[in-house]
């Protein structure tokens, strides 16, 4: 069985986001790039599956659509435990472009389980996995909060729309992961960092479908007025204010 994890390269979640002088681009200088938190958890789960099901998983491939500066993040994924890495050399402007590149790759190099994250922490498009599924013709499992292997079948835990389900389904699948898929992201061990030196990282040229959407400008959040403070001793006032002034209750 082969597992692929799609990895998005995003700024560290604590990064202060500001635009450059043109106002049309995010100022990326000094940004620390990380594995998208969801993808990092997906990778962690993929590695756990490989460890728990000895001999069942032949390899874990991480796939990223990104310019060359994404490679450090891919090498971290290798150090954490992926077996090889693919970078498709494109800077996607929207989810469609990313999904298109991924679909072309998987058409050529199929995998049994493909993990995608519920969203990426940069554009929060939440669309790549769903589009990939339709483009690649592979069943889509949204809201995946757990995955287990049992005799060639995949047991998927799904939480969606207030329902919690346990499903048995056979690969190939695209698993769109969310909270619960793994608890803490794996930290690379020295052994892994060493091993990553010789693991293959292949760069593929893009198919370039062209994006459907494009960010043309950024706008900072409108300034927020200071909070209205209510004395602790007068806490009941809050309910009154929420009723009469804010009119939310």
């Amino acid at each position: 069985m082969k597992i692929a994890v799609c990895i998005s390269n995003v700024p560290d979640t604590t990064t202060r986001i500001k635009t450059d002088a043109s106002g049309q681009k995010i100022d990326l200088s000094g940004v620390q790039w990380i594995l998208n938190p969801w993808d990092e958890l997906a990778l962690t789960r993929a590695i756990e599956l490989k460890e728990q099901n000895v001999g069942m998983i032949d390899e874990i491939v991480v796939v990223m659509v990104a310019p060359s500066y994404g490679e450090a993040t891919l090498r971290k994924a290798l150090a954490v435990g992926a077996d090889r890495a693919i970078r498709i050399d494109n800077d996607p402007a929207d989810s469609y472009e990313a999904a298109f590149e991924l679909a072309s790759y998987f058409a050529d190099q199929p995998a049994d389980l493909i993990f995608t994250g519920i969203e990426s922490a940069d554009f929060n498009g939440s669309a790549t996995g769903a589009m990939l599924s339709l483009l690649a013709g592979i069943r889509f499992m949204p809201g995946v909060s757990g995955v287990f292997l049992e005799g060639g079948q995949t047991i998927v835990h799904q939480e969606i729309n207030g329902m919690s389900l346990r499903l048995k389904v056979s690969p190939p699948l695209i698993l769109n992961v969310q909270k619960g898929i793994a608890i803490v992201p794996r930290i690379p061990a020295m052994r892994g960092i060493m091993a990553a030196r010789t693991k293959p990282l292949t760069v593929l040229s893009p198919k370039k479908a062209g994006a459907c959407a494009q960010v043309i400008a950024y706008e900072s959040l409108p300034p927020k007025a200071a909070a209205k403070m209510i004395e602790e001793d007068n806490a009941a006032m809050l309910i009154e204010v929420l009723h009469n002034e804010a009119k939310v209750i």
């Binding site: 995010i26 940069d122 554009f123 929420l242």
Partner: protein
Amino acid sequence: MKTFVFTTTRDNKVPRSFFEALTYGGSLEGSEIIALVAGPLSQDQETEMQKFGRGQIFHFNQALPQWYDTFYYLHLIQSFFDEKGEPDLVVLGASEINQVLGPQIALKLSAGYVARVISLPIQQAPWRVKRYAYSGKIISHVELKTEKAVFLLSANVLSPIELGAGNFELWNALPAKGEGVEVLEIKRPESKQLLTEARIIVSGGRGMRGPEYWKPLEELAEALGGATACSRPVSDEGWRPHHEHVGQTGKIVAPDLYIACGISGAIQHLAGISGSRVIVAINKDPEAPIFQAAHYGIVGDVHKVLPVLVEAARRLK
């Protein structure tokens, strides 16, 4: 311009996000609404539908699959398009199901897709809309290169306006189910209200001190008719079920009122609540960053403040 709006029902009800989408679609120039509601509805819901409705609303009145079968929904929508014609614009209210369907409908229509739209379009040709990026840290203006568009709205973008101009009728199709999935177990751990659709949320952080102190928080939620939520460490430590976890790595919520009790307001938590209309912070630390995000604040001990609020809220009702 033909504008398609879609929702599934839950507990025989239409979510508010559907009316938000109808209102949004109806506010656009030259827009003609054609909507599809999938799933059973209770009687009173039909009157709701008359009240907030617009254009033509079709009701597919059949029980929906137990599990979230994307094949089923896509097939249903495709049949609808086959019969009624393809729309030019699709407006989807914020829901977990629409979040999955949106991108796929966009592909089917060769339309551009924008998720979490936060305002009416700046421009209609070419489409230009605003949305949050970087987990709510900045607003981006997105322009589509396609003629057609699919917009998934953020919750609370606008309030549904009563128009009562809807025409509501039944529509049927032969459903097709996705094969090869065996449902082993189904649970409904969440309360009746979905966190992502709740209008009022009372949320607790580590400042609550432990699961045994949650009672007044639950009572306040109940008195206000709201849902309960929590910060990540609270669910990590098992004080609260994990579906209550709000934030960047949990649920993104956008209620009218979010009351944060003993939550410091870390950037990752704020990323999940920034769409809330009114944020209230109760925290004993006046320097807690949550006060920067809040509209109303009380510097004080949650254990003292919550019981007072519960009483006041009960009096109000």
